[in-house]
Symmetry: C2
Subunit: 359 residues, 2 copies
Amino acid sequence: MQYTFFTPGPAALYPTFAQHVHSFLEQQLGSVSHRSQTYRDLHRFTVEQLRTLLNIPDTHQVFFLGSASEAWERILLNCVEHESFHAVNGSFSKKFYQYAQALHKFAHKVEKPLGEGFDATELEVPDYAEVIALTHNETSGGVQMRVSDIHKLKRSHPGKFVAVDMVSSAPYPDLDFKLVDTAFFSVQKAFGLPAGLGVWIVSEKCLEKAQRLRKYDNLTIGAHHDLPTLWKFAQTNETPSTPNVMGIYTLGKVAEDMNRVGVDTIRKETEHKAKLLYKFLEQHDAYAPFVQEARHRSQTVVVANTAQPSAEVIQALKAQGLVVGSGYGDFKASQIRIANFPATSTEQIEALLHALGTL
Amino acid sequence: MQYTFFTPGPAALYPTFAQHVHSFLEQQLGSVSHRSQTYRDLHRFTVEQLRTLLNIPDTHQVFFLGSASEAWERILLNCVEHESFHAVNGSFSKKFYQYAQALHKFAHKVEKPLGEGFDATELEVPDYAEVIALTHNETSGGVQMRVSDIHKLKRSHPGKFVAVDMVSSAPYPDLDFKLVDTAFFSVQKAFGLPAGLGVWIVSEKCLEKAQRLRKYDNLTIGAHHDLPTLWKFAQTNETPSTPNVMGIYTLGKVAEDMNRVGVDTIRKETEHKAKLLYKFLEQHDAYAPFVQEARHRSQTVVVANTAQPSAEVIQALKAQGLVVGSGYGDFKASQIRIANFPATSTEQIEALLHALGTL
């Protein structure tokens, strides 16, 4: 049986993905040197498509890592001398905080339970925090932070770096990179690609800090994928080590497809589909939105409480060829998670809701 | 035009690669959760095929990283408290050494020019070095270290870890993992896969050291892909962050194909093809093997001096659909590099030699 995936990542593949893989193989790009002009053109193409899609200015560079988790470590090593601050409300924001501890940074956090969101006004950022680590979309609890609140935090703390985890929402959030110093995402979420590639967006200001920190005797900015080295190679559309060429190629092609649709249209469609999902959950007795505050509800990963054990819901849907995610951690048995990514059409969401309504 | 690649990585794709990608897509494995039994089975399959192919015992675990370069950093962070020792004779062994410096380890090296190899007897390992970093195959200069010499070094320094870069030779070297504590390779070389995945093989002894170092206040073993966390997840055939599932799947399938041929046969074929290559270079006036000492000549990456500018040779071959690599660094203009990986048949090597002979 061919399934329709509504899982929050790895997720449904973008409809054009297989075709891009085919063209990758046909052009023999898997064998091309990563120090050749063919590769540099491919690399530049992907970066340019991402710049267009996410409105990334020339002050920021785009890097390819092994995963978004790697970006947590690279940000902490390269942009934090002593202290970082983390708004934690789920498993992934917590891991960013734990990475800071593992790297012996003085890590501050403010923590809320899964399913609750943060507003800018309530976040008291410690004076000496160098980075404010925010999660635009907490995949575990289905909570989003409003983009306006992210921007507000930078405006009230212009001397600090704002780092945004947009792993499971990019390209949905319309971040203003004049106010966001660094952000990162994974390709297996809203871009609909197989996992294995993280994208890290970083400002010149971050680079300057890394260059300064590199001179210190008492700390290291890391050896692999340190920011100054990544930046140097990116200048010529290259990477320090042999990159995931197939991932970078297919990302560029899917980003191009998205640019053809237009990011505004993608954002509107995302909101339209999210509206259908939340409306259904509110109206149906057997389900309820997990996130109470409408302003904190994720537009890209919708989490629902289920009246019956969620494993039963998941199994019944699967029998119909529809795959949703289970709840996260303690909520594994009582919730389902539904991805609302660009790869999933309104018709597919409607089919899912119909199935949920008639279980 | 469809080309035949003899480049030292990214290299010719393994003949079955496209078919494995097709089956990956057909099974919708790109959308499967990395916390599902389906993923765990896929992961276990790949690890088991690698264990068979490379004769990896249960004392060692197998991890998937973003690249082999990442393994340099992970080894240094997790297995070295103060001092490492590096045998440097090319660009890649040098980078391992430079990573140690960037991580503020006390890094010792013994250095030889490109094209010269090391014997065990001449290596004086400093007393306090915790890791002996050896490169089985230097891709830049086409030099190999004999496996018996690698084993000898461990026997004479049983208290130190031996770390082996087998990036551009695995599965050719028949390493004895009773004597090799850690080793690593990339998939875009002899495994004939697109780049984007590094494989790191590590012993329990290394894990024990990382666990000990983790408790120290004055150093960090890293946050992303630290050894204890990798090990914990590997126990259940999982990875800490979302892995490159397509890379891991296709690696497992290609390793299975190689196991069907048999690693002994692959090794014999490699040696047979290498013999053809070196014999030709020695006999033909327009070419000469770069590496003088036969015992140090790489079986998997053959480097040749060319009488005419190598760019002309490369271009003339390319016009015939044959792609070889250029020389490395200072030797870019006067050398070519020819990969001799399992994906390349004896017939293809013979066709290349015929073309080289009639230029």
